[in-house]
Point group: C2
Chain length 427, copies 2
């Protein structure tokens, strides 16, 4: 095998015929496979079966720290024991934490929604009364973040992601514009590139001086303990870093146990400076009497502490690692020698971010679909669904069993090659 | 005992001295009692202890109707079995129902918030772009409803409540104003008056013709199965009544099991026309991947169906009835002969709505507080916290044990009398 770029037209044509035949053969199998979303597989859901019965009696429902009854109204900030657990995981203080319902996405949406309708702590007015709100979207990124911006009519500005996080030269330039009101960040095992923001990048983020005094740094720590290979990787507490740089009220952090315990039925949290939290909780108090504290106490009694969480993550890792290996092995074997594509090698998170030949991502995924393999839509990882290079493909290998995954990745490899060859041959 | 109005000045002065002495004696007891919020007592929380362990295995987590796994992402409308349960309780169809998280208040807030930021199905523009939004607030009503309006800067318009529901002559006149965009309703055991809207009132509501084509009738069916005395009282399905009158998209209905299973940890739902639900769920899809379906399956397997719910409500009734009796007995004995106050005699819900002598509600509650009894703030049941007659007092007798409640109501009776006598004597 040699690189496509080193092949003659004739060699490429021969390759094309070979891959075309392979594609037709795969199509004939009538596959029906899905690598679209970052869902855990059934085996991962079974890991936490013991959690279902950990709360048995009324006594089990009492907060072990302050005795509050998880079954009663009130305690709007969440159970103390649950706030403590999140503080230990995130490395912040319990006073910074709201222990909430099951969805961190909902908390993020609600924060942005309140900025629009009411304004943030340092806003002169609600954002709804501004002529324009702009938002920084490092990409490839999480499509659901971008959808929140789109839903509120924010102008999304593309910021390139590199292996250390967002391109901070670009960010530092853009935030000179007062209309730029915020930025999405997934600092650890970023969705989908899998990178961990470097210490230098995080330091530059923490000391940003945006023109907008109510700039909102959305720190979505979705994969904070989600190693599937190697040991737990510590991360800095963005809240104290920001505070040390006079930016205490700039950051809001989010996390959930959706990929620790159960998707959509875990516990979520939001953390910010004491002043920020007080301001936001006054607004939240209109929306909510209390979050589901029963699910909080169930989680705390089951997970116990950060060590308990990390132990659990090892069980997830045992299921996830072979799947990521299957994807990477296939890419290494089938694609690497041809030198027309690149991808990351994550050790945590839920995705492999693949860059196929420029201008062929849409075509690649259309071919996959034809052969019965559904992938995340091309462009979904960019604001407005528009990948400027039509190159990024998000591979979500976690849901299918390994055997199905191997079939799916085989199809993906053939489709990548076929669409690259089509382009090279001007077909 | 005779009516205050039939007493001479001298007799009133004598009464005053007597009640003043009684008040001082009670104050000396150093009581610390609370009748402020509609919280269930501990015994009610214990009723559902069996629910805690009803889900034991992965198989228990599968929707008995369509096999969907409650532990996985997705199913944004909620489990089919849970939508069916709510449809049976509310008398609508499952296709009308979103089975959601634990709080109906949050669903109500979110609906209003989306009207502000995005507009409703029939809105020309989001309400944030209107010069003014007005809202009908039948009162006495639920303080948290009014707080939502206040938070979004709506102009609240007071509508008198009578024993059949809101005064519909007033309502029908007010909705001629296009700026009037909605109305709060608690149709069964209204908070706090305890009335059930009459069939005629509901018929008039269902056929309203508001000038605003995006008028939002908020039907908070918070106490739909909450009889504590006598048999279950059926109620009409507002969704089909509105549809029959060409108002299908005017109504959104809400309910939760906070006072059926566990406060703040129950299951909540929202119901509307199919078109309304589709429109709103497209907006909700930005905010939420899925609600906590584990709590849904736990509830469905425990409650089973409407009959199961009604059976459970009998157990709550056995705890609640003696408490309401204690309040009503004291009022009948201590206050009725004096003929200066009136109150309802609810057979369901969580409150007794008491009208003390006009102009003395604030004073009555200040005296109560002095004697160690905390009540819902005077005026809280009116928009802007402003009771035009300074007369309404919301009594929430559910939380304290009967013995404490008897003490508290004794204090309330003395304080009512004392403040009435102060007024009559010009003190």
């Amino acid at each position: 095998m040699k690189a496509y770029s080193a092949m003659s037209k004739e060699e490429l044509a021969k390759e094309y015929e070979k891959e075309k035949a392979a594609f037709e053969a795969l199509k004939g199998l009538g596959l029906k496979l899905n690598m679209a979303r970052g869902k855990p597989e059934r085996g991962q859901l079974d890991i936490t079966t013991d959690m279902l019965t950990v709360i048995k009696t009324p006594e089990d429902c009492m907060d072990p720290i302050d005795g509050n009854d998880a079954r009663q109204y009130g305690t709007p900030w969440g159970l103390t024991c649950c706030r403590e657990l999140w503080a230990e995981i995130l490395g912040c203080k319990a006073e910074n934490v709201l222990a909430a319902g099951s969805s961190s996405l909902t908390l993020m949406y609600d924060t942005v929604s309140k900025a629009v309708t009411h304004g943030l702590l340092h806003s002169d007015k609600p954002w709804k009364d501004l002529p324009k709100v702009k938002w920084l979207c490092p990409a490839p990124g999480y499509d659901r973040h971008f959808r929140i911006c789109a839903s509120f009519g924010f102008e999304m500005i593309y910021v390139p992601m590199n292996e250390n996080g967002p391109d901070m030269d670009v960010v530092e330039d853009l935030i000179k514009d007062e209309a730029v009101k915020g930025m999405w960040c997934v600092p650890k095992y970023s969705n989908p590139t899998g990178c961990i923001y470097s210490a230098e990048t995080i330091a530059r983020i923490a000391k940003m001086k945006p023109a907008a005094k109510d700039f909102l740094l959305m720190w979505d720590n979705a994969y904070c303990v989600h190693e599937f290979e190697g040991d737990y990787v510590p991360f800095p507490d963005i809240l104290s870093l920001a505070a040390e740089n006079g930016n205490a009220d700039m950051v809001m952090e989010y996390a959930s146990t959706s990929k620790i315990t159960l998707p959509g039925a875990g516990i979520a949290c939001m953390a910010g400076s004491v002043d920020n939290m007080k301001y936001l909780m006054d607004l939240w108090d209109v929306q909510s009497i209390s979050f589901d504290k029963m699910n909080q106490i169930r989680h705390v009694r089951y997970l116990k502490n950060k060590a308990g969480v990390l132990e659990l993550m090892k069980k997830h890792a045992a299921i996830l690692k072979p799947k990521f290996d299957a994807v990477l092995d296939a890419l290494d074997k089938e694609i690497a020698p041809l030198e027309f594509a690149s991808w990351n090698r994550p050790v945590g998170g839920y995705f492999v971010s693949l860059n196929v030949m420029e201008g062929t991502a849409k075509r690649t995924l259309a071919l996959c679909k034809e052969a019965g393999v559904v992938m995340t839509a091309a462009g979904a990882t960019f604001p407005y669904g528009n990948d400027p290079h039509d190159s990024n493909v998000r591979v979500a290998p976690t849901l299918p069993p390994v055997a199905e995954l191997e079939d799916a990745i085989k199809v993906l490899c053939v489709c990548m090659k076929l669409s690259a060859l089509e382009k090279l041959l001007g077909k």
